[in-house]
Symmetry: C2
Subunit: 336 residues, 2 copies
């Protein structure tokens, strides 16, 4: 199998460079075909690498960048004010074909702005979209857009549907069922953009478009790809994160509520922990930026080591599947 | 305490008249000040009443309506094509001051269209909103709009915030924290409507506006009233319903997965059932239509007897608090 080389923005994210280095080294050990370039302050990164168990340094490189994009910084500031940020340098390595993908846990808006600026979008794509997997009854589904685009036209939703379908295929779903998220499943339901997008998708050739899907249908596993604008996708994803957290907290409190409950809890907790791990956001971490001339994966800022590994694995899979090339080919046939 | 009289659309909802009659009689028994008028086919309703334990018939009336609005019917059809529907007759009783509130588990779009047509909105309100409670870490919060308005301007969101605040106060929260649902908490985040609504709310006098809230913040209990457009609210509510259902199913499957797991499950299930009951949608059932000249509560179509009781109780509380009058007074001061 050929090699995959990924540049990691080693300075971004809520957990800082230590977790990023740790996750990177774990991935290197697990995947012999993987080459990583850590981008950031060279001295700091070398120290962190040295503090970890030794790895094959022929597959691990460090690239220097003197600045860091802050988590709350405006995208415009990252774009114009920081010519040597770790995020930017990582993306430049990708643009210059030194690596095949970039993974960052940093500021999402800045990552999108820099990616568009440095890599450009694929022909016909107005706006890249963010896509990630969420667990459902049947397994998981890919949801997009997750926040890159807060105002979307029908044409944007159509483009997201085409890109989501191709990406889901690349990730192993044979004939992905693509659905549009809406407030009802009848034709008359929804806002203008959604209704118009539905009429475009109904006419699309070679797309397994199954119609509207409601919020509860997503978790019933009624589709493999669920399309919505970035505002709705972001709210759905985060509110579900919040609800899952509340569940976990209440279960814990419940099993502390009496002596008897504690005894039962001691028995039940290992089982519930397994469930929690199954549904944990970290296991599904890694949002792909689709529609760029290059592979960029955003890791959740608070995903931790396991989550970051998941994001690096996603980048590796997209390299193997040559996702931008596949998207390019399909978009040429499908776009309006 | 003075009496409360509520008309019940006895023909609407997924469960049909039998559950509605059953829930109505249970409410009558529980609340001595309550008077109910069941609206629908008189013979059928009398038979259903006779099949249940006897109640005080001086507080239970039947009003005749020969038609039923279908769950998938277009609102325009319900409005123009069915002059004698149970939904319409119930709302006419409210308009004619024969009752003080209407509860229906029927077609939401039709209920909103008929309510607006027959009751009219309060002065200054362009569009009524739907508001319901959802469980959070701190207790619960009121979320609006839930689907009545799929496209909202900043002014609509502002109106929802004012109405939600007044309604939450009427339902017992002293100084409700009102927040706008958004994809981030920084000022630069969000679509145009949300940013503009925020600038209007920051200037509003006498409103405890706390800024933007993200999807996960809702469940952390960061606000008492969460404002969003109906598209987003509907997706949030239904996706959370779906996720909760998936959790329940996975817990069940987990405790069936081995003999040992079954033994633990037998002990843990009663505790988990208590949790499920705490978080069950039925306990929080009943969405208030705010901004009308009259009290209308929508019960979830599939809420069952317990859920319907909850909705009837909500209508009773709104009558006691004289909610439309309070809204009217406050809107006169607050509206732009």
């Amino acid at each position: 199998m050929s090699a995959q080389s990924v540049a990691i923005d080693a300075m971004g994210g809520d957990f800082g460079p230590r977790s990023i280095v740790q996750a990177s080294l774990a991935c290197l050990s697990a995947t012999p075909s993987l080459h990583l370039t850590l981008v950031g302050h060279p001295q700091l990164l070398e120290e962190l690498i040295a503090s970890q168990p030794a790895v094959d340094r022929s597959r691990l490189h460090v690239a220097a960048a003197s600045e860091v994009v802050g988590m709350d910084e405006r995208p415009s500031q990252a774009l114009r004010g920081k010519p040597d940020s770790s995020m930017r340098v990582a993306l430049q390595l990708l643009r210059d074909e030194q690596v095949q993908a970039v993974v960052s846990a940093g500021n999402t808006g800045a990552l999108m702005a820099l990616s568009r600026h440095l890599l450009k979008t694929l022909p016909g794509i107005d706006r890249p979209a963010m896509m990630a997997a969420i667990p459902t009854r049947g397994g998981y589904c890919q949801l997009l857009d997750l926040g890159a685009n807060v105002d979307c036209s029908a044409e944007h939703l159509y483009q997201f549907a085409v890109m989501g379908s191709v990406a889901a295929q690349a990730l192993g779903v044979e004939r992905p069922r693509v659905a549009l998220l809406n407030v009802g499943t009848e034709d008359i339901k929804g806002n203008q953009q959604v209704k118009l997008a539905a009429s475009l998708l109904r006419k699309a050739q070679g797309l397994n478009y199954t119609g509207f899907i409601e919020g509860d249908g997503v978790f019933r596993g009624e589709a493999d790809v669920v399309v919505c604008d970035g505002f709705v996708g972001n709210i759905l994803l985060k509110s579900n994160e919040g609800l899952a957290g509340m569940f976990a907290e209440r279960v814990q409190a419940l099993f502390q509520s009496s002596l008897m409950a504690r005894a039962v809890g001691a028995l039940a907790m290992p089982l519930l922990k397994r469930l929690q791990a199954d549904l944990a956001p970290a296991r599904y971490n890694g949002a792909s930026f689709l529609g760029l001339q290059g592979i960029v994966v955003k890791s959740h800022g608070a995903a931790g080591v396991e989550g970051l590994q998941c994001a690096i694995d996603r980048a590796r899979d997209e390299i193997r599947e040559n996702l931008p090339q596949r998207l390019h080919g399909r978009l040429a046939q499908m776009l309006l």
